[in-house]
């Protein structure tokens, strides 16, 4: 009977996995029985993308305790690396699942490497300075992608940073990355099931990391850097570990994102600092360091603007108000006290006492 005595952590994690799997089952049943709107069905993969992004950023912001405003940059690297691979190998690897799995690995790996390279010099900065540097890197990545031209023909790959004509492609050449016009015709390999599998992989990686020896070392850096250093924790190593794992997971989300749309472009809207900030909003609203909260807030904030479509032009205005109110509700000390005072549990207890 010892097995039933689960520790608090394990129980907590199981609830998180349970929510994801339950959501998956409900959605699958709804799809199978046809009780699902096209809108929601179309949103399933993006929801997975944002959940992964939120969970992975939480690793940097919540667990490592560093503010990163460049998360979309890593997503961008993963998206382009993965989509490039799929477009390049479209005719070579016919099995879409195999191709997609390799694309995911490539995307995650390249984003992880970029994260590692960026993390090495910048992670010694702190606070808002680190934030601005990560923002800067995100913008640099986006800017470089926008001037990158890659094509293939019988002679192999051609690169240019000027325009697609200077690639010097032969007649049968195919421009794969066309500067600002990005990659078009990425095979639509992303499915909800793969998305959920990726979420679970992300959760396994992040949750296991948090509850491991390494994770505790990372959290000790967050809580007190100098104290952590003085007990012999290798600050650089653990910071880099958390940062590059987080970047790799964002890259994975990027691959999922790029294989859900037929045209991929690096615009300020999807890979700029606005998106990085949006992911940060998911993390903060859900509770910094709270993985389950990130999942839930990513889902709510992605659905919210779609559900507000009935308001037409007032949609984004209402969205911003809801965002502010939710933040105040979740974070204001006064409101938290108020909530505690009148919480359901307490009221129930009181009535119990009276009886």
């Amino acid at each position: 009977m010892k097995g039933l005595k689960l520790s608090k952590n394990v129980k907590d994690n199981l609830i998180t996995y349970g929510i994801v799997i339950l959501a998956y089952l409900i959605m699958e049943i709804m799809i199978k029985t046809g009780h699902i709107s096209s809108l929601l069905q179309g949103l399933l993969v993006p929801l997975c993308v944002y959940v992964i992004l939120a969970v992975s950023l939480n690793l940097t912001v919540g667990i490592l305790g560093e503010l990163s405003l460049g998360h979309a940059g890593f997503m961008c690297v993963g998206a382009f690396a993965g989509a490039f691979f799929s477009r390049y190998m479209q005719d070579v690897i016919e099995v879409s699942l195999l191709r997609f799995v390799i694309a995911i690995l490539i995307g995650a790996l390249s984003a992880g490497i970029v994260g590692f390279l960026i993390g090495m010099p910048v992670l010694r900065l702190r606070g808002d300075y680190l934030a601005i540097v990560t923002l800067a890197f995100g913008e640099i990545i986006k800017n470089i992608i926008n001037v990158l031209y890659v094509g293939k023909d019988a002679n192999g790959l051609h690169f240019s940073t000027k325009d697609s004509m200077s690639l010097g492609l032969m007649e049968d050449g195919d421009v794969i990355i066309n500067g600002a016009q990005g990659i078009t015709g990425t095979p639509k390999d992303a499915t909800f099931t793969i998305g959920i599998i990726l979420i679970i992989i992300t959760l396994v990686i992040v949750l296991n990391l948090i509850h491991s020896r390494d994770g505790r070392a990372i959290m000790s850096i967050r809580d007190n850097l100098i104290a952590a250093e003085s007990v012999g924790i290798n600050i650089t190593k653990y910071k880099l570990m958390a940062f590059s794992v987080s970047a790799a997971l964002a890259g994975m989300a990027g691959v999922l994102y790029s294989h859900n749309l037929s045209s991929l472009m690096a615009t300020p809207k999807n890979f700029g600092y606005n998106m990085s900030i949006m992911i940060l909003v998911f993390v903060v609203l859900g509770g910094i360091g709270n993985i389950r909260g990130s999942i839930i807030s990513a889902v709510i904030l992605t659905l919210l603007p779609e559900l507000l479509r009935g308001l037409s032009n007032y949609r984004m205005l209402i969205y911003s108000i809801v965002l502010i109110v939710m933040m105040l509700f979740n974070w204001s000390p006064k409101l938290i006290n108020l909530r505690k005072k009148y919480s359901l549990k307490r009221l129930l207890k009181k009535t119990g006492e009276v009886q």
Binding site: S38, M165, K269, L304, M316
Partner: protein
């Protein structure tokens, strides 16, 4: 513990939101779905404002199905918020105006049109969401998306559903790779090559500079074709400088380089917002080359409070000009101004034409509102290659099966603050 309670609360509200959203999917009205869920979002303030705004919106909503029964359902997509909102709102209003006119005149083959516009914030992913929302609403034909990137993303979905798509202003050739998609505007290559040929064959200039937006699909697409064609023309590109979406207030460097290279003409394959800044800054530095633009430049005279003297002598290849003297344009402009309080730009005209093109195709093919989406699409696809439409943005527009439009670009010059046709 506290956080757990909060997250559970959020989880519960999420589930209700999702379920409520889905529960409504069977019914035809997408709008009511969101009203129902809004109340769940634990926010009294928002709900209150929202009911107010919703009643406001009532008047704007599509007309109810009329007594004669079936209606055509036309959807439209474009950015109504965000930096590109000016184009999306123009498409929204242009299509709305055309549909109101058609409905007042008795509809298409006696059937009314219902209209629904969805915002995509100029984001590919949001555009697909908007498309799916319209699908839930029961859309049969799509006027959209407004921008190229979004059109490409949506066209993959619409091809999958075999739903007829007519993009008013998505000008990339990638928009029309699927056979169910047609364009109202010129394609980018068409514009870039056309502009280069015009400058070359009319001997407008020998040294040409280009300033383009390297982060924009439309602008970089035209620039590329322009540069390609320029090699065959008797002029030389002496400087080609770019700017990006994040860096579009200061053009002094680009202008200085053009000036230093001795350019007599600056080609601007960009939108008018940036062009108005370029004109102002060129004037401030005392540089007076000729300016030549594409359809994106249309609208520059209508920038509120803009000193039109700066735009004097600017040439542009555009299918539409709000100052044109013909009856159709005049009627359109005055009706648009009366309805929306703004001067229409080329996007509004494209969308207005798009609706009339759909009308012509329906009349030609006899597609009925009761037909399935796929049947309507097949019928319209066939009809598109047969019809010829006189619209605001071109006379005798006709289409190839590939989806590109055949029409003549008009070369305009701004003279005394008005467009004048140059031959």
């Amino acid at each position: 513990m506290k956080k757990k309670v909060v997250s559970l609360l959020l989880a519960a509200s999420m589930m209700t939101v999702m379920l409520a959203g889905c529960g409504n999917s069977g019914s035809s009205d997408a709008g009511s779905g969101s009203v129902g869920t809004q109340e769940e979002s634990s926010d009294a303030d928002a709900a209150e404002t929202e009911t107010e705004t919703n009643t406001d919106e009532g008047s704007d909503a599509a007309p109810a199905a009329d007594a004669s029964g079936a209606v055509y359902k036309i959807g439209a997509i474009g950015p109504a918020t965000g930096g590109a909102a000016v184009y999306g709102i123009a498409v929204q209003n242009g299509a709305d105006l055309a549909i109101k006119e058609i409905n007042e005149a008795g509809g298409i083959n006696g059937h009314m049109i219902e209209y629904n516009f969805q915002d995509d914030e100029c984001d590919n992913e949001k555009s697909v969401n908007a498309y799916n929302t319209l699908k839930d609403w029961g859309m049969q034909m799509l006027v959209g998306s407004t921008t190229s990137g979004c059109s490409i993303a949506v066209s993959a979905e619409s091809a999958n559903d075999n739903l007829f798509q007519l993009t008013p202003s998505g000008s990339s050739v990638d928009c029309i790779t699927n056979d169910n998609v047609f364009q109202v505007c010129f394609t980018d290559p068409n514009q870039g090559v056309g502009a280069a040929q015009y400058i070359g064959s009319n001997g407008v200039a020998e040294k040409v500079a280009v300033i383009y937006d390297s982060s924009d699909v439309y602008s970089s697409g035209i620039y590329e074709k322009f540069a390609g064609e320029a090699a065959n023309q008797p002029f030389e590109i002496v400087s080609s400088e770019a700017f990006t979406a994040d860096n579009k207030t200061d053009f002094s460097v680009q202008l200085q380089k053009a000036k230093d290279a001795g350019a007599e003409l600056i080609f601007l394959p960009i939108y008018y917002t940036e062009a108005s800044l370029i004109l102002t800054q060129a004037n401030a530095m005392g540089y007076e080359p000729e300016f030549f633009g594409c359809d994106g430049l249309d609208g520059i005279l209508n920038v509120e409070n803009f000193d039109t003297a700066l735009a004097e002598g600017v040439m542009l290849l555009t299918p539409f000009a709000a100052d044109a003297e013909d009856e159709a344009t005049k009627a359109f402009v005055s009706a648009y101004e009366a309805a929306y309080g703004d001067t229409p730009n080329q996007f509004a005209a494209d969308a207005y034409d798009a609706v009339y093109i759909i009308k012509a195709a329906i009349e030609k093919s006899g597609a009925a509102p009761e037909d399935s989406v796929s049947d309507i699409c097949d019928k319209l696809k066939a009809a598109m290659t047969e019809i010829s439409v006189d619209g605001l943005t071109g006379e005798a527009m006709s289409w190839e099966a590939g989806g590109a439009v055949n029409k003549e670009p008009k070369a305009m010059e701004i003279v005394n603050g008005n467009y004048a046709l140059i031959q």
